[in-house]
């Protein structure tokens, strides 16, 4: 059996529809997970009573359970608790919660580099702890944490392929669906691997542009 490019050309529109869904669900989840990361890290660092303990529990829960189990819990478990989400939003929720836990740790790592001196300087100018966090600590922490935040975002993008398990028609779902009908295994998996690779490279490129811009103050 030889590699059939004509077959891939015929399936291209379906793959592109899957790709578009992968991009939407991943991009939305990356943005939301970074938001979760910044807010969660703020709660930890500003030691907000009660909430900071909840954040610790959340991070531990996510890091110590399998992503697939979390996905099934959200898709099959939450409706039992009265929360019914669409396939798409179940996927976004799952990826956001998963990556958010790691992003909290990434931002927190960056915050470690913001010294006590800057905190005192900000306070001495009359800034509140929250304004200090928003105007000084968070921008500095994001710059330092950017490489690890990119890692988490790349993992999120790749892990979006798990969403085929609940039937969301993203890229991997399309491939497996077609394979079950046409048995063109090599063509399909080769195609989606190349597409995922290009997606990740694009994401890395965008992140390196951002890193370059954020580092401007520190270049001489």
């Amino acid at each position: 059996m030889e590699f059939d490019f004509a077959y891939l050309t015929a399936q291209w529109p379906a793959l592109m529809r899957g790709l578009w869904l992968t991009v939407q669900v991943s991009a939305l989840s990356i943005v939301l997970s970074i938001l979760v990361g910044v807010l969660g890290a703020a709660v930890r660092v500003l030691q907000v009573p009660v909430l900071d303990k909840l954040v610790v529990g959340y991070v531990e829960f996510i890091r110590n359970t399998p992503l697939l189990a979390q996905l099934f819990f959200i898709f099959y478990g939450l409706p039992g608790l009265g929360l019914r989400l669409s396939l798409f939003w179940s996927g976004v929720l799952c990826l956001t919660l998963w990556a958010g836990a790691y992003q909290i740790e990434n931002v927190r790592g960056g915050l470690e580099t913001v010294g006590k001196g800057l905190r005192e300087a900000a306070f001495s100018l009359g800034l509140s702890p929250w304004r200090f966090f928003r105007l000084v600590a968070a921008p500095m922490a994001i710059r330092v944490g950017l490489p690890s935040m990119l890692n988490t975002s790349i993992s999120l993008l790749k892990n979006s392929s798990y969403l085929q398990a609940i039937g969301l028609a993203e890229l991997t779902y399309v491939a497996i669906d077609r394979i079950s009908m046409d048995f063109r295994t090599i063509e399909m998996f080769a195609a989606i691997c190349v597409i995922y690779l290009l997606l990740v490279l694009t994401l890395s490129f965008l992140a390196s542009r951002l890193e370059y811009r954020l580092n401007a103050p520190f270049r001489l």
Binding site: G117, L118, E120, A121, A122, F123, S124, L125, G126, L127, S128, R131, L135, V136, P139, M140, R143, L214, A216, P217, F218, L220
Partner: protein
């Protein structure tokens, strides 16, 4: 009759664990005067100056700024009073991700509600005064220590404070650049800026201070005009401290 002091401390005490860092300090700072705090390390100077703006929160005591009491147990009260009392630190503590100009405008804008254009105009005028107008759009990493400290001083001034606290402002600087920072501080003193300064620069204290306060072991041992305190110290502890720094100075310069 004399007006009430601009800053007034009564019975300010602070304990860290089992260590009593400050024992009921009373201190008055008159408007327009320069008060210099000196003393050996561990004497509580830095803790005391931080108790004035609540970076270290006193356990007990009373604090009045411009006649109004500060509720020392409430963070909000401290945040309000800190817009009235600026501070300059040993390590400059400029925000490294912001330009010099933005370092100076961000709090007047966010905290005082001064429009951006107005805040920038004032900031540029202040930078011109300290000879750094050409650095307005540079980031702090492009400035020398002395330049950064001058920016830190005008950043505090940009909030139009009633008084400025200086915590060892020249201790981290190269000997050549100390002069440029002290010159700015002398200028401010001449203009009648109210200042509280922790420093080891005895020359500065002698020349600029209206009152020198000597501290040891969390207490004020003695205070007075610089001539009296340096020329004729009354307490043995003060004499010992002054002679130790003098012999150190001779060892360095002599």
């Amino acid at each position: 009759m004399s007006a009430a002091p601009l800053i007034s401390l009564r019975g300010i005490a602070k304990r860290f664990g089992t260590h009593q860092a400050l024992h009921g300090i009373d201190l008055d700072v008159e408007a327009g005067s320069v008060v210099v705090l000196i003393g050996p390390s561990g004497s509580g100077k830095s803790t005391l100056i931080r108790c004035i703006n609540g970076l270290v929160r006193p356990d007990e005591g009373m604090l009045h700024v411009a006649g109004s009491p500060v509720d020392i147990h409430h963070e909000r009260a401290w945040q309000r009073m800190r817009t009235e009392v600026g501070m300059v630190f040993q390590d400059y503590a400029l925000f490294p991700h912001l330009t010099v100009l933005r370092n100076m405008t961000i709090t007047p804008e966010r905290r005082r509600g001064i429009p951006r254009a107005k805040a920038e105009e004032e900031a540029r005028a202040l930078l011109t005064r300290v000879g750094l107008a050409h650095k307005a759009l540079d980031y702090p990493s492009a400035l020398s220590g002395g330049q950064q400290q001058r920016v830190a001083i005008v950043r505090a001034l940009a909030m139009r404070p009633k008084a400025i606290l200086f915590d060892e402002p020249t201790s981290a600087l190269d000997p050549e650049t100390i002069g440029s920072v002290l010159d700015v501080m002398k200028d401010l003193a001449r203009e009648g800026t109210t200042m509280v300064v922790v420093t080891h620069e005895m020359g500065f204290a002698r020349e600029v201070a209206d009152r020198v306060v000597f501290m040891a072991e969390g207490r004020i041992v003695e205070e007075g005009p610089p001539d009296a305190l340096f020329g004729a110290p009354r307490h043995e502890r003060t004499r010992a401290f002054l002679s130790s720094i003098r012999s150190f100075g001779e060892a360095v310069h002599g």
